[in-house]
Symmetry: C2
Subunit: 522 residues, 2 copies
Amino acid sequence: MPRILTGRNLIATEPAEPSRQRFTAPGALAEFDESSPADVDAALAAADGAFQQFRRTSAEVRATFLDRIASEIDTCDELLDAAHAETALPLARLSAERGRTAGQLRMFADLIREGSWVDARIDRAIPDRQPLPKPDVRRMLIPIGPVVVFSASNFPLAFSVAGGDTASAMAAGCPVIVKAHPAHPATSELAATAIMAAMKTVGLPRGVFSLLHSTRNEIAVALVQHPQTKAVGFTGSLRAGRALFDAAARRPEPIPVYAEMGSVNPLFVLPGALAERGDAIAEGLQHSVTLGVGQFCTNPGLTIGLGDERFDRFVRGLESLMGTVPPGTMLYPALCRSYEAGRQRLSAIPGVSHTGPASAVAESKAAPAIFVASGQTFLDRPELADEVFGPSTMVIRCASRDEMDAIARRLPGQLTATIHGSAADLKECASLVSILEEKAGRLIVNGFPTGVEVCPSMQHGGPYPATTDVRSTSVGTAAIHRFARPVAYQGFPESLLPPELEDGNPRRIWRLVDGELTREGW
Amino acid sequence: MPRILTGRNLIATEPAEPSRQRFTAPGALAEFDESSPADVDAALAAADGAFQQFRRTSAEVRATFLDRIASEIDTCDELLDAAHAETALPLARLSAERGRTAGQLRMFADLIREGSWVDARIDRAIPDRQPLPKPDVRRMLIPIGPVVVFSASNFPLAFSVAGGDTASAMAAGCPVIVKAHPAHPATSELAATAIMAAMKTVGLPRGVFSLLHSTRNEIAVALVQHPQTKAVGFTGSLRAGRALFDAAARRPEPIPVYAEMGSVNPLFVLPGALAERGDAIAEGLQHSVTLGVGQFCTNPGLTIGLGDERFDRFVRGLESLMGTVPPGTMLYPALCRSYEAGRQRLSAIPGVSHTGPASAVAESKAAPAIFVASGQTFLDRPELADEVFGPSTMVIRCASRDEMDAIARRLPGQLTATIHGSAADLKECASLVSILEEKAGRLIVNGFPTGVEVCPSMQHGGPYPATTDVRSTSVGTAAIHRFARPVAYQGFPESLLPPELEDGNPRRIWRLVDGELTREGW
């Protein structure tokens, strides 16, 4: 992999003309070109031009491509060094994230090699049906078209240039234009180099991939509103995600926008669990809240319990554990300022007490913090459920189980919701589970929300404002369905059908044939 | 079934307070109450209140409910009489549509009885995995919440009160509020009575169903913007569908809007097919264009061929066949006016010639019409691709195959696209198929788009402006996925899991367990 950073936009894998406007990355590894509206047009025109060829590549070609990106990334240590310099994330964490990134690419390679994800359905003709003959109809998912991916700051590898959105879109057969996060442009260029090397090896059309750098809202809007853009993936703040959603809704042709915008991930601690293992829960919670300086979408920012003596002891224990965690450097300075602003906003609310250093920020580092408020205060002040991105949690002392349920009902949409309970607690918490099913995409019992498992059953999504599309996940194999659409073929001769729908089922995928799921052909 | 029409809004199955504002149905069967914003609130509050109970009913209960609605409808001849009086559709057609409506309800009953639609996925724990234990994660689809259905005018049974949207939403476990089409309110009340009778038999909470009458846009917007509304189904015009989509996009919490807005359904006639069976194609096309006075979403409103002598003969044949079809009464007078306006608009375009009576409308009846234009005229005037709802088709004479492909590329999104070709034609039309895959939800070879088969492989949807959500279908079993969302359960004790995710697989559904599809439990 070449190691000299161009600092240029990469349009259809080629460095674009140098821009007159540039910006400097936080780690000061290089200067990077701001993209122009003309760059957006060029990237989308190239993607559109490459789409027909790319979507017709065999699953094996695309799988080889994804595997090859994974190998490039696996062996590129400069990626870790760049990410470390740009994001301040520790190398050990970045190394694990690199493993996850490569793992995701290989997971989608395996998924499309197996092939059943296309949801093939065949209803064979019955020419002599009365009163009308039944036609032969066959349906499967095909790729939706060019996808624009806005990468996240908090996962510079796994939710960035070669991250989950890119992997799932390319697996489906969609060209991808990545808008790099300006907090790690060098890491982004190195990851792009890995993708481009893999494209070359496999021989894909250049328009399949572009990387654009920008710090400007109008470029983001131009990408979302471009007529050739057919879907958008985004991970970031509610404000930015909603702005993209609104920009897409104003398009003449609406398109899906999958914005994952984080949440406070409420964690309910029931009395029996506290009695059995209060200390262990406090330890686990402290770890989950402060992991990676609290910069995870699944960070448990809201801890809810029944305000008895045991709960107060648990909170004091949590406070002293959090006090032992040193301040940590956040991904970029603005996050630290916004964390501090959030802490000050919460502390100023009457009825909210606060533990932790008076200022969260010293030398751009964020110190862990705990806020405590009563259930009634929470019910009176809905802003207590707003996310404060960083290593803090808001503890809510409820006066009763009814108040706890009332709080659960009041929650906005979440990525996750967690319950800690003893066997006896869990026997009595069906109503709480029922409320939380309406509030979150993933429910956890006796665990912690951070550490999202990448597997077919994972759901990383949830009701708004956690995401803009409650039907979708950005982690796990089901993520590929975001970038596909169904097409039915009626009365088609076999020569015009995709292999997935041929009589003989040459790909041996699972298909619903005349209502029965089978891998057989005929 | 009771036969006296109340003319009232039915909120949670109870007649609402009489309204001071009423409107009269076209067939003059009764006067109907205009609903108020308070009626909207009451219907959604009831739906929200009933949702928790309804979504926890067993699949068997919901299937019995759907079957029961089907039986009520099957045996209600007054439904046909009312629909005939209100829509002018012939009784034979309405009787077939009633069969389809009952068939759809039974199809969804069978689908949820079988149960695999929930897409259950289980990844079992690996406690000793290194470096971190793998948690137990299980995922399935659950109902999305209360659904508002706007019913269509052109299918007073199959796309109306007890039609496909209602059947699929209720099958998933979602309460439904139907906004009745004001062109057939009596039919709507009778269908509502069938649903309510079935609810009573099965013992469902009343909030599961409401029927609101309205002729006013503000009520439609209030329904779409109500905080408890979680999804919207609509079939109708582009203008109305887009207005609902825009209203939903302005909500604080965005929701899916499935608006099916019709299309011109281009039909390509290739030279070999004309040589082999030009007369038969003309006959089939005439039938498809004029069926039901052209009031189908899948009406072929655009016929495209290579402008040689044989094609001209085909067009003359089509013209004379269309001339034999008597004018027909449209669903309501405004449609007839709008058909005539569309005809005049098209005739006035330079380069467009027109066959058929000088005026389309005589005594509220619409006469078939054919327009003819060159490929170049079509390329110059994109409005030739706008839908004219009624028994007409625009014939495009192309100068070359390249021009035909250019026209295909220029098409807006469609529900269907059709190719008539001989074996030799079809061998050479891969590029046309490839273009049309990007344009339509269903591709048809050597058939006609009207007569949508209701089956698992059907796709009734397509790129905008055919629908607002290219990922969805409003016909066939996949329609249920519009009203569901995934939830993952991590580390759950079996007692808190839905039966679909229990170890033993008591429902014997297909599940993806550790990456393998199986009906076995363990």
